[in-house]
């Protein structure tokens, strides 16, 4: 009580001085936190490079372009996991983006008001499910379903098309690259759709209503008003989803089949970088084996960095277009 009165009684100058000290402390503190993030990131990079050096020295650049992964003879190449990582993420994007877009458009433009909130919440709940649950669900429920219904249908239809048929060749195993891609699509869906929804909401109602007033249909409004207005946010959401798909570990490990091979068919088992790490790190005998796994981690780091860089460039370009 006494302290309060004293505070009120202080002169403006005193308060200002106290404020400026607070400012200095605050600035130093936030700077320290920012520095800490940089230090941790730098430390991770240094540790990865240091750990990967023996493998990179032994195999050189061929590490990135050879498929063989043989712990017995200690010959390692990263091509199969790199391929698996990129292909599963691509499938996740091809399946996930249209669905996420549809969900976002439905919620913002079409959905009756009473359904809007429950639907949005449920989709966000998808993001809260731990990835191990997706993995177990994928293995026990989804993979048998894919094996019985989806894969035979794909093999009989797309698998017979000349040219691309090899991409969809059997036998139906249930687990494999395609199933992993599907699971990833479900996992990235809430990220992409909730960001799309948020940015769609920012479109000024006056723009949309003017378009409707001119006789535009819903799809014309979405294509010509909403999308051009929000494309930066949409790209950002997609990139966030892609980042998650590239690094996802547990769910993929359960359903991809974990085979260090590149198969022509996406129905066959494969592996990803993070799945290989999760599988093999604990029992990696020998320095070269361990080092090769760390080198895999380093490659994933680089891939993620490249994706982020491309996203940033894309955003800059879009911003410039929007400005000019």
């Amino acid at each position: 009580m006494a302290a309060d009165i004293a505070l009120i009684g202080r002169s403006a100058a005193q308060r200002q001085r106290a404020g400026s000290i607070g400012d200095v402390v605050f600035r130093a503190l936030t700077f320290l936190f920012a520095l800490l993030v940089l230090l941790i990131l730098g430390g991770v990079i240094v540790a990865l490079i240091d750990g990967a050096l023996p493998a990179l020295r032994t195999f050189g650049f061929s590490f990135v372009i050879t498929e063989v992964w043989n712990p017995v003879t200690e010959k390692f190449g990263a091509l199969a996991p790199i391929y698996g990582t990129l292909v599963t993420s691509a499938i996740a994007m091809v399946v996930g983006i249209p669905v996420a877009f549809g969900v976002a458009v439905f919620i913002t433009e079409i959905c009756p008001l009473w359904l809007k909130r429950p639907l949005a919440t449920m989709i966000e709940l998808l993001a809260a499910i731990p990835s191990i649950i997706y993995g177990i669900w994928g293995l026990f429920v989804f993979a048998p379903f894919v094996q019985q219904y989806i894969q035979p249908a794909i093999i009989d239809s797309l698998g017979q098309v000349p040219g691309i048929g090899a991409l969809f060749a059997g036998p139906p195993l249930g687990i494999g690259v395609l199933t992993a891609g599907f699971i990833l699509a479900v996992m990235v869906l809430p990220f992409i759709s909730s960001i799309m929804r948020d940015v769609f909401e920012t479109v000024p109602a006056i723009l949309k209503e003017s378009a409707y007033g001119l006789g535009a249909t819903r799809s014309e409004v979405v294509r010509q008003i909403v999308l051009p207005y929000t494309r930066i946010g949409v790209v950002g959401g997609i990139m966030l989803g892609l980042g998650r798909a590239l690094g996802e570990t547990m769910a993929v490990t359960f359903v991809i089949g974990n085979a260090h091979r590149i198969s022509a068919s996406i129905l066959q088992p494969g592996t990803t970088i993070s799945a290989s790490l999760a599988n093999e790190f604990t029992e990696a005998f020998g320095d070269l084996y361990r080092s090769s796994l760390i080198a895999l981690g380093f490659i994933l780091f680089i891939i993620t960095f490249i994706v982020l860089a491309i996203a940033k460039l894309l955003l800059l370009r879009l911003q410039k277009q929007a400005g000019g």
């Binding site: 043989n70 048998p144 094996q147 249930g174 359960f254 088992p269 029992e283």
Partner: protein, 349 residues
Amino acid sequence: MNAFRIALFGVGAAAAIGFVAQAAEISGAGATFPYPIYAKWAEAYAAKTGLKMNYQSIGSGGGIAQINAKTVDFGASDMPLKPEELENNGLTQFPPVIGGEVLVVNLPGIAPGQMTLDGPTIANIYLGKITKWSDPAIAKLNPGLKLPDTAIAVVHRSDGSGTTFIFTDYLSKVSPEWKDKVGEGTSVEWPVGIGGKGNEGVAALSARTMGAIGYVEYAYALQNKLVHTKLVNHDGLTLEPGSDVFQAAAANADWKSAPGFYLILTDQPGKESWPITGATFILMHKKQDHPEKAKEVLNFFDWAYKNGGQLAGSLDYIPMPANAVAIFEDSWKQIVGPDGKPVWDGHSS
């Protein structure tokens, strides 16, 4: 006042942590396969003697690294170290417990123990040379069975594992082509098949994939009600898996003339020897800086050899036969303190 209380609490907590660290007197790290039985033994041993054993199941590779760095009192590995590796690192090893592996299949109308397989056939399946269940090689071993024309879905472990080491070691022994093309290890370059993570992953894939064949520890096959097969052993006899035939493989093994106990129990001679049997190993330094700690570790395993059999059996591990235990305990003489005297005198204190 409040700050003082918090400080007091902090000191108390720190003291408690210090006390716990003191009480956990021996520590080990390594293989995941024997973790359940080590944990169970530790619990029973602590109840009896008050001595606590702290075991981290971080994987065999990690166990070897930690014992070399001397951060633990003993390491554990599912893959025995070769005698020269032991020599180079000043280590010694002994096996506390045995496990058996079985092949499991998923085919309509085939019940547990109905099908018979032999080593060369399994090797050819895992090499991708036998691709259908109706193959003549399988039909020849199973004259009474109606075998479907289904494709064989090969299932293997995706994670590095002692189970895989024992299995691939067996295939290397029975198939020169396997030894030449693939070899043995905790993980290998599989020519065909899909990988499941852990015994449970292989069990799940085998149970869910039509036409599957997989290898799992016997306990997993039992718990998951998988369809195991009989196997033809080294002496040409067809056996049903079980603790008696697993133990027979260890009893017939010639531990005495195996330097560093580098002996893998697969494809052992003997009428009753199950072909895919394996032991898990404990690693210790021969020169001990803290002889009293090493003594506690050896006391623990001595107790486990003598009294841990029933607990092991309850978890479907197989205790070591008595004649083998005598040989292992004799080897403990190599573990000496700074004064050069053996740390363990043959009596638990």
